[in-house]
């Protein structure tokens, strides 16, 4: 069975380590915050100028001056700090964020990512995504393995305009956990009940399949 949105978030959360500073993109990545393992502390960075983002507020604590990069009202945790957008991206470009999680339209076997622009459709903008993918050492892309038409999103070469070049090393899709190195996709784990054959079939790029592909454990 393909992973649900929640399971995707759960699997990504396994990449967290105690003491990590983490930037979570909009959508499924945001859900990762709900699955931080017990006894582990992570600090969430929001690129609009907040380190130490907390959960959503109550009606009593909501504050229009306190939002995240998705423009949602949020709260802070103990030890949080506010800073300017320039300082926020200095932090990001400087390589201080330990893990960045974001979605994508396409990823290719050379680590290129396309996530912001579909020619012919209205272009809304890249927001902070280009800075994030160009700067982070440790990025996890989480997305469905194929699009709604069943076409693979793990390609030999991205067809859409890029968000960043050669920067993606890890993908958590609804079918598999895949690493990218040496110009190839490498299958590491499969979603519970998903066959290697299905993953191979839905991966358009070159995929290296080891003898043993364990199921993800949650």
């Amino acid at each position: 069975m393909a992973l649900t949105r929640e399971q995707l978030a759960q699997r990504v959360a396994q990449e967290l380590r105690d003491g990590f500073y983490v930037n979570l993109g909009i959508g499924i990545p945001t859900l990762v915050a709900n699955y931080v393992p017990k006894g582990m502390d992570v600090m969430l960075q929001s690129e609009n100028g907040l380190l130490g983002m907390g959960e959503f507020p109550t009606e009593e604590t909501v504050d229009p001056d306190l939002i995240n990069a998705g423009k949602q009202t949020v709260t802070t945790v103990t030890g949080a700090s506010y800073f300017s957008s320039a300082d926020s991206f200095a932090m990001i470009r400087g390589g201080n964020v330990d893990l960045t999680v974001l979605g994508a339209f396409e990823v290719d076997q050379n680590g290129n990512i396309a996530s912001w622009m579909i020619p012919g459709k209205l272009i809304k903008g890249m927001g902070g995504a280009m800075d994030l993918v160009a700067s982070a050492q440790n990025i996890v892309v989480t997305m469905t393995h194929a699009n709604k038409k069943g076409e693979s999103k793990l390609l030999k070469e991205c067809t859409l305009p890029l968000t960043g070049a050669g920067c993606i090393k890890k993908i958590v899709s609804d079918l598999a956990y895949i690493e990218i190195h040496d110009g190839k996709f490498h299958l590491v784990e499969r979603a519970p009940g998903v066959s290697v054959e299905e993953i191979v079939e839905k991966t358009a790029g070159e995929l290296v399949v080891p003898d043993n592909v364990p199921e993800m454990s949650f």
Partner: protein
């Protein structure tokens, strides 16, 4: 301190000198930390042909979206402009030009503009459409592109508190682009929630020193929330 009293008491004075075809650097992220009253006044003034540099373009009927209604903006430099039907319409009809810029690059362009740094290399955008026509160079084994700084005739920022000498303090994530915007304007106007006497703000914790600020006006703020999300 007559020479350093930056307080003005009406919006006409706050925006004196603003004319057609100027470039405005405007603080804010989404609808958070935007100079609401100054934007409303620009709508009233009716100046046209503006280039607005701001992370977003507001929404229909609020923020910079107000200036789209009468087509006052000719060009928008922003990182994300998705929340605005009028914007879309004017973009498609060719009445509005947009220069999409990665958010961190946009922040750094403003910061560099204010800091007398005319250009800098950044890895953001290398290998993407953003890099087209830009100089590329490898540093530390990684490709970077050369980006130029931005300044404007006016910078319009929103702060929490100002003192009479123009020292500014921001609040929470309403800071966002405002500190850089404040440095990048030839004339910087700060619209604030509260004006205090000089000396009342802690000198260790002033976000924007008064040297950058030409005019301070006390505003009233609606602080509209774009995405109200509450704990379930």
């Amino acid at each position: 301190m007559s020479g350093f009293n930056k307080v003005v008491t009406n919006y006409d004075e706050a925006l004196a000198g603003l004319t057609d075809d100027m470039t405005l650097i405007v603080g804010g992220f989404g609808l958070c930390g935007i100079p609401e009253g100054l934007i409303a006044k620009i709508k009233e003034l009716g100046v046209r042909g503006l280039t607005c540099v701001s992370n977003n373009a507001g929404v229909d009927g609020f923020g910079l979206g107000l200036l789209l209604e009468d087509k006052q903006i000719r060009k928008m430099i922003a990182s994300y402009v998705g929340e605005n039907a009028l914007f879309e319409q004017q973009l498609l009809s060719g009445e509005l030009e947009v220069e999409l810029t990665p958010q961190g690059t946009l922040a750094e362009k403003m910061r560099a503009g204010g800091a007398g740094i005319p250009a800098f290399f950044t890895p953001a955008g290398y290998g993407t459409p953003i890099a087209e026509g830009k100089e590329e160079r490898e540093y530390n084994g990684k490709m970077h592109i050369l980006e130029e700084s931005i300044t404007g005739e006016f910078a319009l920022v929103k702060a929490w508190k100002a003192d009479t000498m123009g020292n500014l303090v921001y609040r929470k994530t309403a800071m966002n682009f405002n500190p850089m915007a404040a440095t990048a304007g030839k004339i910087t106007v700060a619209e604030v929630e509260e004006i205090v006497e000089a000396g009342e703000l802690d000198p260790n914790h002033i976000h924007t020193p008064g040297i950058y600020v030409n005019r301070v006006i006390k505003g009233t703020f609606e602080k509209r929330i774009e995405q109200l999300t509450l704990k379930k």
